[in-house]
């Protein structure tokens, strides 16, 4: 019996074009631009200057607060400049630009493939290593992992959920990681369990990855504390609240964090990165990125160093197809459209999707026919048609009352609307404005 979340959800076409392609290492680029703001929270503070020599794993920017983390050089070479560089956010951000020379790694980093299963480190030490390695949530949210593993006082974690769902169409990096680095992911899961102090972990995998489910089940056959839970294919099953609901049956209360129901969710990529950080002393300097699209010659899963320009990835996948209209960083439901390919890959880049011209443009908006489909598909039980109208009419207080801040921006509403209404655009505007009002109200009190 497949579990799932009950409310809402849609079924976009899966298009997992690169599911059968093994992960390949992308050759090193000539320069990398590593932004200092690759995570939620305060951007890291730069600790290198122009002309400095760096190796792979050298700390180039340090964590600047509790919700912040370190940034490491992903290449060896010389710091060319510290400049504002256009990144996937659509705005220019500060980045460290390094010209690549060779591939020298910092001392202490174990670059071999040997599997290391055991460690004598305790929970605090594991957490410290995770912070030192600059690990953030690799599912795309890039929340600093060491913060997630430190529950606020009064709250305890009961179960660790590993997110192997990958519900976005086209993306296959988690899928390949589960097939090729299975043992490492399991070790990483156990490290996370130790750090959190829980003795139960569930790995959620959508049912369109039967090979991954089988393989993960085989590797956890002798681990009674870790179970593999296949899940019904429905977007957005990979959203952490939906995953928690499907696996544990509990709903995270509005405005609260998953820890409120005793759950902590981490992506399989994060689990792998934790393994590398704790067991191999390797900081987060590379990740698997899926390069895909219907016209792409060779849809691939590439192991890419952070800071590599996206142009290199597209070249490796067979070059930019002639009929490309849009380039997305991430998946088609929640990813960001890029203005140019000259942006660097960051810790949160899960995929590069090239969309054809004919699928790039939106259709003209028509009036709302009050069909209620948006209400039916919203996984958070909101009323998207109403929230859009409130944003259009600038009724921010009423928007807050109708729980606009609960929206997880999954895009199911805009996806479904028969009138092509840009529901999510206006809901996002509402969230931004209401968020500002809430912060202003808090700072006044």
């Amino acid at each position: 019996m497949l579990k799932t979340f009950k409310m809402g959800g849609v079924h976009p076409a899966e298009n997992k074009l690169s599911a059968g392609k093994a992960i390949e290492k992308l050759p090193l680029p000539k320069t990398v631009s590593i932004p200092v703001a690759q995570h939620i929270g305060a951007p890291a503070t730069v600790v290198v200057k122009r002309g400095d020599e760096v190796k792979v794993g050298t700390v180039i920017a340090q964590s600047s607060g509790f919700v912040s983390t370190n940034i490491h050089s992903s290449v060896s070479g010389k710091v060319a400049k510290i400049d504002d560089v256009m990144d996937a956010s659509g705005y220019k951000k500060k980045a460290v630009v390094i010209s690549v020379e060779g591939d020298e790694w910092e001392q202490g980093i174990d670059t071999s493939d040997t599997l290391i299963k055991e460690t004598h480190l305790d929970a605090k030490e594991i957490n410290a290593k995770i912070l030192a390695a600059g690990i953030v949530g690799l599912g795309g949210a890039t929340f600093p992992t060491h913060v997630k593993l430190s529950p606020p006082p009064g709250m305890t974690a009961e179960v660790l959920l590993i997110n192997g769902v990958e519900c976005e169409p086209y993306l296959t990096s988690d899928h390949r990681l589960m097939l090729e680095k299975t043992a490492e992911i399991i070790v990483g899961t156990k490290l996370l369990m130790k750090s959190l102090g829980v003795n139960k972990a569930v790995i959620g995998i959508e049912n369109n990855k039967p090979d991954a489910i089988t393989r993960m089940k085989d590797f956890t056959a002798n681990e009674p504390e870790i179970t593999v839970q296949p899940l019904k294919v429905k977007y957005p099953q990979g959203g952490e609240k939906q995953l928690i609901k499907a696996v544990t049956g509990k709903e995270v209360p509005s405005g609260a964090l998953p820890i409120a129901v005793g759950a902590v969710v981490n992506n399989v990529g994060t689990a792998f990165a934790v393994y590398e950080a704790v067991m191999k002393n390797k900081p987060l300097i590379e990740r698997v990125v899926t390069v895909t699209g219907k016209s792409v010659k060779e849809p691939s899963n590439l192991m890419v160093r952070v800071g590599t320009p996206v142009t290199e990835l597209v070249e490796a996948a067979g070059g930019m197809p002639e009929d490309t209209g849009k380039v997305i960083s991430g998946g088609p439901m929640m990813g960001r459209a890029l203005t140019t390919l000259e942006v660097p890959v960051t810790k949160g880049t899960s995929g590069i999707l090239l969309i054809r011209n004919e699928e790039s443009k939106r259709s003209e908006m028509e009036p709302c026919i009050r069909c209620g489909k948006c209400v039916n598909v919203c996984p958070m039980g909101l009323e998207p048609f109403l929230l859009m109208t409130m944003s259009e009419k600038k009724l921010w207080e009423r928007s807050e009352d109708r729980h606009v801040m609960d929206c997880i921006e999954c895009g199911s509403c805009s996806f479904t609307c028969p009138s092509n209404r840009p529901l999510l655009d206006y809901i996002r505007l509402g969230k931004g404005t209401v968020g500002k009002l809430i912060r202003a109200r808090k700072s006044q009190n």
């Binding site: 209360p253 209209g325 380039v327 439901m333 939106r362």
Partner: protein
């Protein structure tokens, strides 16, 4: 690359829902009833339907282009649906000028005066139909003979016969002998408006719409279920005063109303629970009018009354929120 990349907010893919698909799906669902009406009434039913559709489309186009000064949207199919539904709600012998007048009121008053598609609080076809019924009661209750019905069933509709019979003091058993059998009623061998008489054809259309996810079961089942239950209670209480519930389900406009008119998205509630409340309200009012009111049929009025309650239902019946703090 000289071409500029397109940038827009997520999501970057779109499902295949569209207004056109919904509207033309409804038109397809109405085909069985249309075919049956042609069988029962001949070319006249085709004529009435075509005139109603043409008039609706024409008025919508003219009003949008010359009065509202917006781009005409007649190709989205909603005027066609209104036209067919209006035709289904009138007797097949209705004079042409009345059909056109009905279309003008349905589209002009029922839909365009509120701002066009998506803005009307009332079902436009019903607005047109009720206008015609109240302003031209004689023409709207002159029934043409049903070609396939047995002799003696031309003239009044079963509900009309029932009302008249009860008024003149007859008992149910006496009236029943004059009425078609339940099978005849289900199939459609009786008098009535163009599209309302064949329950089986309407049910087929309803099943098609359910399959294509154009409607959900909530409104139709709520309406039909409520009518069945309340009529059943009345019948059990006094079988000589009230007809049995199956009779009520198959006669008059209940089938057509429950499946095609009450499910009009624009004028019905957005949430499933809201739709159930909506349907139950329609059912109760219909039962009241049919059994205790002056008119033999009450579904049109019931739907219009409940349409007026839809904004209230929408305001108070909110979807269950994820993670609401109890």
């Amino acid at each position: 690359m000289n071409k500029l990349l397109t940038v827009s907010p997520s999501p970057h893919v779109k499902g295949d829902e569209s207004i056109r698909k919904i509207m033309y799906g409804v038109v397809l669902a109405m085909l069985p009833a249309f075919a049956m009406s042609a069988m029962f009434f001949g070319w006249n039913s085709v004529k009435v339907t075509l005139i109603a559709v043409a008039a609706s489309v024409f008025f919508e186009y003219v009003i949008q282009k010359y009065i509202m000064k917006v781009k005409p949207t007649v190709d989205d199919g909603s005027a066609i649906v209104t036209g067919i539904l209006l035709a289904f709600n009138v007797p097949v012998g209705l004079p042409v000028w009345l059909i056109i007048l009905g279309a003008l009121v349905a589209i002009g008053v029922g839909k365009m005066s509120f701002g066009g598609l998506g803005q009307n609080p009332f079902n436009p076809a019903l607005v047109g139909r009720v206008f015609l019924l109240i302003s031209f009661p004689v023409q709207m209750t002159t029934w043409a003979p049903n070609k396939l019905a047995a002799d003696g069933f031309s003239g009044a509709t079963p509900l009309g016969l029932l009302k008249e019979g009860l008024k003149s003091g007859k008992t149910i058993s006496e009236i029943t002998s004059q009425l078609p059998s339940h099978f005849d009623l289900f199939w459609g061998n009786m008098s009535g408006s163009l599209g309302e008489i064949s329950a089986v054809a309407l049910l087929l259309g309803g099943l098609y719409m359910l399959w294509k996810k154009i409607i959900t079961w909530h409104t139709p089942i709520a309406v039909l279920g409520t009518v069945f239950i309340f009529e059943g209670i009345l019948w059990l209480a006094n079988p000589e005063r009230f007809m049995d519930p199956m009779f009520h389900l198959f006669t008059g406009g209940v089938m057509l109303g429950a499946i095609f008119m009450a499910t009009d998205m624009v004028s019905s509630p957005m949430t499933h629970v809201g739709q159930l409340i909506f349907g139950i309200g329609i059912g109760i009012i219909t039962v009241l009018i049919r059994n205790f009111g002056a008119y033999p049929e009450g579904i049109s009025f019931a739907i219009l009354i409940m349409n007026a309650f839809t904004p209230l239902i929408n305001a108070y019946v909110k979807p269950a929120r994820f993670g609401r703090i109890a």
